[in-house]
Symmetry: D2
Amino acid sequence: MYKYDMDELFELSIEALRKKGVEIQDIAEVVYELQKDYAPITIELCEENVLAVLRKRETIHAVLTALAIDKAVDQKLFDEPIQSIIEDDEGLYGIDEVLSLAVVNIYGSIGLTNFGFLDKQKIGIIDKLDKMKGKEVTTFTDDLVAAIAAAAASRLAHGFRIKEEEQHHEA
Amino acid sequence: MYKYDMDELFELSIEALRKKGVEIQDIAEVVYELQKDYAPITIELCEENVLAVLRKRETIHAVLTALAIDKAVDQKLFDEPIQSIIEDDEGLYGIDEVLSLAVVNIYGSIGLTNFGFLDKQKIGIIDKLDKMKGKEVTTFTDDLVAAIAAAAASRLAHGFRIKEEEQHHEA
Amino acid sequence: MYKYDMDELFELSIEALRKKGVEIQDIAEVVYELQKDYAPITIELCEENVLAVLRKRETIHAVLTALAIDKAVDQKLFDEPIQSIIEDDEGLYGIDEVLSLAVVNIYGSIGLTNFGFLDKQKIGIIDKLDKMKGKEVTTFTDDLVAAIAAAAASRLAHGFRIKEEEQHHEA
Amino acid sequence: MYKYDMDELFELSIEALRKKGVEIQDIAEVVYELQKDYAPITIELCEENVLAVLRKRETIHAVLTALAIDKAVDQKLFDEPIQSIIEDDEGLYGIDEVLSLAVVNIYGSIGLTNFGFLDKQKIGIIDKLDKMKGKEVTTFTDDLVAAIAAAAASRLAHGFRIKEEEQHHEA
């Protein structure tokens, strides 16, 4: 029924993000900025956590849906008025943020505050995606990348705590 | 900036639902089934509450986005693998439910249980939309219609309480 | 800083549930009822999934908070009017459901519909907790137990899919 | 059944916030900081929006529950380990944020980003509540006050848009 296995879906998601100009490294850098003051972390550790978030089925579904919507709007395939509302990333349109919640919540409620913060203080790739608006539709993509970074930062925070406590059950 | 006023968006949403085979009356009947055992209600009162939910900007954005996604998938406009995942309404795909949360929560957290209930016990129009699967994509539409009915049922429940208490401030 | 390790917190949560009259087996039976028609499952498998949900820090925090609130209200320790509102499990009070969302979402958005369903169709231990109302405060506990069962059912559903696809990355 | 009318509950909530050191004016100032760059607003307008948020039943329930939990923990009434976890506002404890979501979502999903932002960049009264930690438990209160400010900022943003469009149906 489900025609793709998870490894394939994972690779396809990373490929789809890359086509939109988003590399794992870019997201890892946002995670690094979010967490560097709280723990002695490396970019490699941030990358690991981004990849773990991206392996989740919920993330894969959200990534592929968000990119598909932005692409369809870019190609003017949606009817009016929703075509213009998404294309202009209209200020009170919040469905992009709602969709991102699917990812934000995966590693607990602390992901929420990082997501809100990133949405206001656009860092690195999120700023880059935001500035593409006008030339290319990134309405759903920028929120989703922020959600992945926020979830990865939560995972990393939980991980440090777990390590500290020398226990391995949480998963 | 925002090219449409709210009245126009409201009318366009109702028209878009109608094109998909969903009438206000159909949603009102679901609300009636949900609430009839709790209060002396009429179909007219249910319709009023459905219309109030549909006038909300958040609902309008959610309705238009959901219908646009289902239509795009119906026309095979999305890339694989997300085209098949949405087309088949794959069992573990939950982005349609996440999007519906934008509407479910508008009238408080009690909307949530009605939404979950409708998703399991498909009533009236929700059952009809569900049975269209295979011929027409209704992956996002059916969850959204359930969300509108759940929110309208919440609004109605809150309204009765308010009336009972003879106070008029809540709005 | 955090004075307890996760193993200890896990044991304390199970103990706290037991004191309230909720056994792992009771929750496993609800999971079994939710999933039996979809896959060839056993009570043992349901128990495993309930335990996995209970090992999550988010669940532990939610369980201990919910039980503490119900206990405080049982002992009339809260001020009016919130003491009466929680004690009577007032119809429009939805904070208990909001708190449960912390658990419902852990294994993806499909947990949401099982939670909503359980809140309407009270099965097994959830019905028992509901019927204790009047003698003992279970306002937060019954929603939380429903949330644990819903999350465990999601985890089980995801697990079967993963197995089918013979892949082991998702965790 | 419900022993209090909404006016009474509204007054009791404001009184309970005041006892904790939180005035309407304090929350209005946070809203002003959040929105001053986007629209020509006054403190009076911010206060109006804070009061509208506080009149909602969902907000009243959340306020009274949050204050009751903080007070009970302040008086050491909860059992260990949850007593210490809440008292120390332990870093991975996120139930306070989950409870606040009940309020954040009332005026649409754009409230979410303001909430996340406030949780990171503590402004005015939120900073003051945060600095009380150690002397007085404010674990749930600070998140809730942030949620009220975030919801009021959303309401204000929606209101300006509505005015602009000269329409009066949304409510």
